[in-house]
Amino acid sequence: MISLNNVTKVFKTKSGMITAVDNVKINIKEGEIFGIIGYSGAGKSTLVRMFNGLERPTKGTITIDGKEISKIRGAELRKARQEIGMIFQHFNLLWSRTVRDNISFPLEIAGVPKVKRKKRVEELIKLVGLEGREDAYPSQLSGGQKQRVGIARALANNPKVLLCDEATSALDPETTDSILDLLLDINKKMGLTIILITHEMHVIRKIAHRVAVMENGKVVEVAPVMEIFKNPKTDITKRFVQQITDEEETMEAVQHLLEKYSTGKIVKLTFIGETAEQPIISELIKEQSISINILQGKISQTRTGSYGTLLIQLVGDTEHIDKAIEQLKKQQVGVEVISHD
């Protein structure tokens, strides 16, 4: 559906050349929700802007649905853009138009006749749940409502692809979730391919099928979301995964425990998919003569399964503790013994 081939973007600035996007190679399938995660300055914004030709690659090609976006210009590019919806961090609505007229705008651009436009706008308002707010101006809407208008506007011309440029970064956590649910719903209902860039692992966890991790313009890792949680290969990916799994205060508490109790060991277990449902802990207590202190546990749902972490303290004599760790390692769980910093 979408393929990026060795895409590079170099910006000329006063202080020299800056490679914002460095030799990126990605293939995105039809109907997929593909996440691109990176910290600010990683080049993800530049990358997503090349999908609809707002930026042109210095090198490489971008093909969407057989059309080489990086090559076409003028009327052909404008036509192609009508089939690629885009939503933005700051919504970018026209303040001078009502909700209805904002949603109508891309239809006007596409030259849809007035009667059809009106009908389509009504459909879209229902789709994004903005009934009753049709005649409001953007200044009268909340952030979440504004993004709903943004989504309706992006979907007006029945695009095949939806680009989300930090679409939830300006929203509070609850509103973020409701917007993500809406995107999921749209993805399921219409089979729309969604590309979303973000710096929040939470967003990726909740809706993406696959994710690309970007650092310094390079894609350092591309994998299914579960795979990334299970087996993060690079340091930066580990940091992103930790956004969800380890809360800072937990780690502080663990350090405190380590100092307080020199006996025993603190172990972090990671469960993926079905292993989360096996009685690993009770078996451990039965078979080894140790006691277990549960410090913290967390389970997160991704699109393809659950992912959980459990922090436990093993108390007993060293020999038994080592045996217990051996036993844990034989199971389908990740085992990490946490030691003093």
């Binding site: 192609a80 853009r81 885009m86 970018n92 026209l94 001078s96 006007e108």
Partner: protein
């Protein structure tokens, strides 16, 4: 009562001169609006990072705008005499004032239009581009509507300055209330006529300000 306070005011003459002021202000405002929007758009669109970015054209337009803005209006009228004679066929009367009024104020207004356009959210322009909008659509459906409050309040300021300019033009033969206050008041030693003309100009200015503020407020949905 008017006759008691302003014994030398002839109402017929006064209304005729008021009409001339309104005529000069109104007609030139229409042309200033058109030229100002055109020049303002060109200044904006050819500036750095915009759709028609062109350093040279931008510099040229900016130079012309700045030169005409810098020439004092009285001198501009004199400089334009041959031009005025050429296109209007005369150099006295309200019509003869129009070229100078338009050329003197359009650059000023163009700058205000440009400032208004620069305040349009860049993200909104980008969103329109991402939807596949052509440049004309971006101009007429994004840039102008989104900067309309600034365009109207700029036009209000320009209109008020213009009333002042018509008075200057009046003193050197263009008619209008300025001419009335000067020729019928000052020259003939009738201070009451000068005062009466001044009050009329003030009322016109207040009405323009009121209408301008009202429309600006109605347009601004931010």
């Amino acid at each position: 009562m008017i006759e008691a306070l302003f014994p030398n005011v002839e109402m017929d003459k006064f209304w005729e001169k008021t009409y001339e002021t309104l005529y000069m202000t109104g007609i030139s405002l229409v042309f200033i609006f058109i030229f100002g929007i055109l020049l303002g758009l060109l200044l904006f669109l050819t500036s750095k990072g915009n759709i028609w970015h062109n350093q040279f054209i931008n510099w040229m337009i900016a130079a012309v705008v700045n030169i005409f803005r810098a020439i004092p209006f009285v001198i501009l009228i004199i400089l334009l005499i041959p031009f005025t004679k050429g296109i209007m066929g005369t150099m006295i009367g309200p019509n003869a004032a129009l070229p100078a009024l338009i050329i003197g104020s359009a650059p000023f207004y163009a700058r205000m239009v440009e400032i208004g356009l620069r305040e349009v959210n860049k993200g909104v322009i980008e969103a329109a581009q991402a939807m596949g909008a052509r440049t004309s659509t971006i101009i007429f459906k994004v840039l102008l509507p989104e900067s309309m409050p600034a365009i109207v309040s700029g036009l209000t300021v320009t209109a008020i300055a213009l009333v002042g300019y018509t008075a200057i033009a009046g003193i050197i033969g263009a008619g209008g209330l300025g001419n009335y206050a000067h020729q019928y008041g000052f020259v003939r030693g009738n201070n009451d006529v000068t005062l009466f003309g001044t009050i009329a100009i003030l009322i016109i200015v207040f009405i323009i300000q009121f209408i301008g503020d009202f429309i600006t407020k109605r347009l601004d949905k931010r």
